[in-house]
């Protein structure tokens, strides 16, 4: 260490020892002038000092920078040339001279100086790199690329230049060439792969960069496994998951990683919402590496992707636009693999939370999508009976309670919802929902006082999603307090609706709507009649009924909803986009304060796009 430091100290000492204290003061004075912006005075002083000691590098550098500040390019060139006469082997001086010509706007002369220097010192491997640095400094990237390419050509180690070339190509948006340089680097030293990958990913979002890079990397695929990894990463970046999957399969085969890379890929794709590919990846792992450690996780991933795919498809056919509906028929071939996948998890992860969740998912799939509540019930019961302390228990109780309500077994439903209310681990939202359902059960039994009490606890938390429904029901119960016979009739109709007995329910709603005594229920009953008609696909009759509600305008608080439903029938039921737009536009005009305005606007925009 001492050996290294000593020469440096001696050099510095020698440099300053040559300057007299007077010269030193003069130099500092010039610097002060420079800082004040008085370049002319600074030049005068440094010129004198330079004349006195032309070998002094400090004076030279300062004088040249001052000439450039004052745009005295001829003086700068002369100064550099005089310095070249003193040290003709100093390549950087030629670079500097070219740089002065370049700054003066004389590019031809600048190139000539640089080219001559490259020729003159062609045996020095650093010449072209030094010259290219001057070109880069002047932001002449094309010229710098030219020099670096020349250097690469004549150098014994062409890869020395590839990194700089890659950077310059990237800056100048020549991504194909940049990729080619980076591939050369990987080829020369595959251990640099990760570094190069992050370099490429830093600009891969630029227009055309990804496509051009993929094109180049693809050609190197057979050279080294690193290229396959890089290509797969680029495909992921491009969201071309199928290609990436194929590549990972190839890598897996070549590297014998026993699915490790594929598993990470599958998880990444699942998180990105690309369920189809994720499902294929997990299936591949399950089929080919059944003995591997992460296979149980792959099985869970497979089940979840299958479910997500199934629900995506199912939702497109399910008539969710209707207020009440019988769920669409499910394709057995589509739901069965999902259920099997979850059953497999139950088998593998016995008694774990994952298995309990799988039970819940199967129950939901059966009850909600296959409309097989008896079978669904079995799975929910496994949770409530065997794992009542699980975090999924409250949901299982709720699902069971809903099934019992649908089956008109109100006592059993009540017990189940009471269990949720008492369950310590149940979250407040589940408890509120259970209380709301209890209130409905009481109302179905005509125990309106108990219903009201239960609703009070739900309405206490307005942030809860169910609070609005609770308020709506509470208003009805309170308003109709003195008309208990019609309230009872209304609740019976609601109970039939809950059981999806829409035709019977419609008759009761109709009875209420036509009974002059039951004026409190007229508005809601008329709407419900129309909703029951919609539920049974009697669209024309529903439109006629809804039109009558709309005509009542402010006399019926559901008039705006009626018009909105009319639009929905046209849009989804009768597929008449023009009429749908007409209904929505009429809603905007007639009910400017309606809650359905935003949805109506959105639908108009979508329908108009479709129509145009």
């Amino acid at each position: 260490m001492i050996k290294k430091i000593l020469p440096i100290i001696l050099f510095a000492f020698a440099l300053f020892a040559q300057q007299s204290p007077m010269d030193q003061n003069q130099f500092m004075l010039a610097e002060s002038y420079e800082q004040r912006g008085d370049f002319v005075k600074a030049v005068e002083i440094i010129e004198t000092l330079n004349k006195k000691d032309p070998a002094n590098i400090q004076y030279f550098n300062k004088l040249n920078s001052l000439y450039l500040q004052l745009k005295k390019y001829d003086e700068s060139a002369a100064l550099i040339n005089s310095r070249i006469n003193i040290t003709p082997q100093d390549i950087s001086l030629y670079g500097l001279l070219g740089s002065t010509y370049y700054t003066a706007g004389d590019r031809t002369k600048a190139y000539q100086v640089w080219d001559d220097t490259a020729e003159k010192f062609k045996t020095n491997p650093m010449t072209l790199r030094i010259i290219s640095n001057y070109a880069i400094e002047k932001r002449d990237f094309e010229k710098a690329i030219e020099y670096l390419n020349r250097g690469k050509e004549i150098s014994k180690d062409p890869f020395l230049y590839s990194y700089d070339l890659g950077e310059l190509y990237q800056i100048t948006m020549r991504y194909r060439e940049a990729a080619s340089e980076y591939c050369d680097l990987i080829k020369a030293n595959p251990s640099q792969y990760q570094q190069i990958e992050s370099k490429i990913l830093s600009y891969s979002n630029k227009p055309n960069a990804l496509d051009e890079t993929i094109e180049v990397v693809d050609k190197h695929k057979s050279d080294d496994i690193s290229f396959s990894y890089l290509l797969a990463r680029l495909y992921i970046e491009k969201k071309n998951y199928d290609e990436a999957f194929d590549l990972f399969k190839e890598i897996d085969k070549k590297q014998n990683t026993r699915g490790a890379d594929l598993f990470s890929f599958g998880e990444f794709v699942y998180r990105d919402g690309e369920y189809k590919t994720a499902s294929e990846v997990f299936k591949f792992l399950i089929d080919n590496y059944s003995d591997q450690q992460n296979i149980p996780l792959a099985k869970l991933g497979y089940a979840k992707t299958q479910e997500a795919l199934f629900i995506q498809k199912y939702n497109a056919t399910n008539p969710e636009w209707k207020s009440f509906f019988i769920p669409a028929k499910v394709d057995e071939n589509e739901i069965e693999p999902v259920i099997s996948a979850y059953q497999e998890i139950i088998k593998v992860y016995q008694h774990s939370e994952v298995a309990i969740e799988a039970n819940l998912r199967i129950g939901i799939l059966l009850a909600h999508y296959r409309n097989d509540i008896i079978e669904g019930e079995k799975y929910f019961s496994i949770i409530t009976e065997t794992y009542p302390m699980s975090k999924f228990a409250s949901l299982a109780f709720i699902e069971l309670g809903n099934i019992k309500m649908q089956q008109a077994k109100l006592d059993e439903a009540e017990k189940l919802f009471q269990s949720v209310v008492k369950l310590q681990r149940a979250n407040p939202e589940d408890k509120s929902y259970a209380n709301y359902q209890l209130a409905r059960i009481f109302s179905f039994r005509n125990d309106f006082e108990s219903a009201r009490k239960n609703l009070i606890s739900v309405m206490g938390n307005l942030k809860d999603n169910i609070a609005n429904d609770a308020i709506e029901l509470s208003i009805l119960l309170n308003t109709a307090k003195n008309d208990s016979s019609n309230l009872s009739l209304y609740c019976s109709a609601e109970f039939l609706t809950e059981q999806k007995r829409f035709s019977e329910a419609k008759d009761l709603y109709l009875q209420l709507s036509q009974n002059p005594q039951a004026f409190v229920f007229h508005s809601i009953a008329k709407l419900r009649v129309a909703e029951m008609l919609i539920a049974t696909d009697a669209f024309s009759a529903a439109i006629a009924d809804l039109s009558l509600i709309v005509e009542e305008a402010e006399k019926n608080i559901y008039a705006d909803k009626a018009l909105y439903l009319q639009g929905q029938i046209y849009q989804y039921g009768l597929k008449d986009s023009l009429k749908a737009v007409e209904s929505y536009e009429s809603l905007l005009a007639k009910f400017p304060k309606s809650l359905f305005l935003d949805e109506a606007r959105q639908n108009i925009i979508e329908l108009k796009k479709k129509l145009s």
Partner: protein, 393 residues
């Protein structure tokens, strides 16, 4: 369009569309905060409903009453006929930018058609295809927004510099600053020949500085590779500018400021005290500034930008001050004529984001449907549609 209007901004879009469809619109200056009267059509009604714009359907006699009220000598109101939708261009670089342009946001929100143009289009003479051009955050001095100290290593800054350099090379200029001077001059000619220029934020002062520095190099070596002229300040030609004079430029690349035109944050003080006031003009005698200041509020929340406000003593006497911070020398909104055209400068970056920093997400205008600050921007796009009346003063 007073405080009862549900969406002031989209109302401008609807009027613009009506003009595009060949209808005529009357701008009722100062009538209920400045309103538009258009012949009824199902399309307009439907568009108002769809866009949640409050409208009132009136009969002929009600319309006559309104015209009578507006044209009465007792009221500071008037009617301006809007004839033809102006052809709008917004000067914006291609590709990603780490900030948003309030005018583009307003035009997009109000669904007003516009074209994006950049240096190539301006230099090849495409401006003649347009009536109105907007400049926002771009730097016309060739100093890349003076972001050097904070962002010279940021990828977006590096990309931006390369893009400008390529543009310059492509268009035959050795330096970006030279190209920007040519762009500024082309825009100046466009205004001189009757074009409308609307600039915000740093496009205001950087544009005028570029005009003043037409024959002098004010860029430090980090921007254009050669030194700035040490005597640049004394060589500025203020006779060439639109709005500002006698300003002092700051050529230090490490200082994020072009000149002393801009008001500094320390001079503004607390955000809660930052409001500017619109001047009240005579609708019948000064219809142009009246149009440009139509608003439902006359005291408006301030907002910062790279250029926030203009120093009053540096504004030329020929320029009309339309809004300022009362009791200060801080001016927010100015307008002037050059040749057969006009220019309007509005300080600040985004009227609904007090300090819009580099990289901040764009403002969601659906949350600011009644923004008085944004409304001033939209006054500018309809103003060129007005039929020229004989000047009363």
């Amino acid at each position: 369009m007073d405080l009862t209007q549900t969406d002031h901004l989209k109302a401008y879009g609807i009027t613009f569309h009506a003009l595009e469809d060949g209808l005529k619109a009357d701008w009722l200056l100062n009538y209920r905060g400045g309103s538009f009267m258009i012949d009824q059509s199902d399309k307009i009604v439907s568009e108002c409903l769809l866009n949640e714009v409050l409208f009132e359907q009136i009969n002929l006699s009600q319309a006559s009453q309104i015209y009578a009220e507006v044209q009465s000598e007792d009221n500071n109101m008037d009617v301006v006929r809007l004839e033809k939708a102006p052809r709008i261009a917004v000067y914006v670089p291609p590709g990603f930018q780490p900030w948003d342009d309030a005018v583009t946001l307003a035009l997009e929100y109000a669904n007003v058609k516009y074209d994006k143009i950049w240096n190539d289009e301006i230099l090849r003479g495409d401006l003649e295809k347009y009536d109105w051009i907007h400049l926002h955050h771009e730097d016309f001095t060739g100093q890349y927004g003076k972001f050097y100290a904070s962002f010279s290593n940021a990828q977006w800054y590096i990309d931006q510099q390369i893009m400008y350099e390529n543009d310059a090379k492509k268009n035959g200029f050795n330096k970006v600053s030279d190209m920007m001077k040519a762009v500024s001059l082309t825009i100046k000619n466009f205004v001189g020949q009757g074009g409308f220029l609307f600039a915000m934020c740093s496009a205001t002062d950087s544009y005028d500085i570029s005009l003043a520095a037409e024959n002098v190099d004010i860029c430090a070596p980090v921007f254009d590779g050669d030194a700035a002229d040490p005597d640049a300040q004394s060589k500025l030609d203020f006779s060439k500018t639109f709005a500002f004079q006698n300003f002092k430029i700051d050529m230090n690349p490490y200082i994020y400021e072009y000149s002393d035109i801009d008001i500094q944050p320390a001079e503004i003080g607390l955000e809660q005290n930052d409001y500017f006031t619109l001047f009240d003009f005579s609708a019948k005698y000064d219809p142009v500034p009246t149009m440009l200041t139509q608003d439902h509020a006359n005291v408006i929340k301030g907002f910062m930008g790279q250029t926030t406000m203009f120093r009053k003593n540096l504004i030329k006497n020929s320029v009309i001050v339309m809004a300022e911070r009362q009791g200060t020398d801080q001016v927010k909104y100015i307008h002037g004529n050059f040749g057969r055209g006009t220019f309007t400068f509005y300080g600040g970056h985004d009227p609904e984001d007090y300090q819009h920093a580099v990289g901040d997400p764009p403002t969601d205008l659906s949350l600011h449907k009644n923004s008085p600050g944004y409304r001033l921007i939209l006054n500018n796009i309809l103003f060129p549609a007005a039929t020229k009346k004989k000047q009363k003063t």
